[in-house]
Symmetry: C2
DNA sequence: TTTGTTATTGCAACTCAGTTGCAATAAATT
DNA sequence: AATTTATTGCAACTGAGTTGCAATAACAAA
C-alpha cells in the first residue's frame, strides 16, 4: 500500500529526516516527536514510507531498527547484487548509510536475494 | 568470564549444537530444552559460551539472535578484516554460517572494527 | 568423602521495542 | 458541503530477552 495521504504527522516525520544526514532509530523518532504524535503513528508511518521506497530500514548492533532516506530518491536496483553497507559508531552511536557498494560474490547452492551489511567501529569524530 | 563448570545444562546445550550443522536461534534452544532447563539458563549459558569463544552470535532477519559453533574451534583472527557471512533462508528459515570470507574494503574516515553480514535468500532445498 | 566455597540454576517478576483492536478523526474525492 | 475511508490516539498487549535472589550443585581442598 504505502503512503496515500500527506498528513501533518507524515510531514513532521519526513522533516526529521531532512534535518539530518545520518540514519535515525525508530525509538529516537518516537522520542523526538512525542509531543506531536503517538508512538504507534510513528511506527505506522515508517512502515508506509518503507513500503513506498522512500526510506529503508536496517537493524543496528543494539537490535534497534534504524531508518534512513534513500539518497538517490529510490531503492537501488541492484543489478549484480551490490549492497550499500551501514556504519554504526561504537562510541557515539551515530549511524549512517555509506555511499559505497560492496560486491557480494555468488554463493554456491545459495540463491541470495538481499544482503544486510553493518560495519561497526569508530566514526571520524570518535577516533582518538 | 565464561564457562567454568561443565554442568549438566552446559553439556545438554552443547549437545544440541553437535547435532546440527546450522545455526540455532536462542528461542529454538529455549523450546528444545524446555524440559531440561529454565530459559534464563539457556540465555546465560549462551552468553558464557560466547565469552569463551566457543560459539558466536548474530541477528537474523526476524530480529532473533542466532548462535553457531565456531567451525575451526575459535574466533577468526581477522587479519584484513575479512568476515564470514551468515545465510538465512527466506522460506524454511534455515540459518547457517557460510564458510567463506568476504573482504571488506577500507572505508574512508571510518575505523571499521567488526562486520555483520547477513545474506537472505533461498537455500538449496527451497529453490523451486 | 566430607566440607567449604562460589559458580550456576530456577523462579517469577520485570523490561522495553514494537504491535494491535477499535472508536474517533481528518485527508481526499465528488 | 457531504461522503468515503485512510489515518490516528489510546490503552492494552506481545514476546524475546533480562534480573534479583534464594536454593543448589560443581569443583577444590583437606
Amino acid at each position: 500500500m504505502g503512503i496515500i495521504r500527506k498528513t501533518k504527522s507524515v510531514k513532521a516525520l519526513l522533516n526529521e529526516f531532512e534535518q539530518t544526514e545520518t540514519a535515525i532509530s525508530a525509538l529516537e523518532l518516537v522520542e523526538r516527536l512525542r509531543y506531536q504524535m503517538n508512538k504507534s503513528t510513528v511506527y505506522r508511518i515508517l512502515e508506509r514510507l518503507e513500503d513506498d521506497g522512500i526510506v529503508h530500514s536496517f537493524t543496528g548492533r543494539d537490535g534497534l531498527t534504524w531508518y534512513a532516506l534513500y539518497q538517490d530518491g529510490g531503492p537501488l536496483n541492484a543489478q549484480h547484487l551490490n549492497t550499500h553497507p551501514h556504519f554504526q559508531c561504537r562510541e557515539c552511536g551515530k549511524t549512517q548509510c555509506l555511499p559505497i557498494n560492496i560486491p557480494i560474490p555468488e554463493v554456491e547452492k545459495h540463491n541470495v536475494e538481499s544482503v544486510s551489511l553493518l560495519l561497526v567501529g569508530k566514526c571520524e569524530d570518535c577516533v582518538s
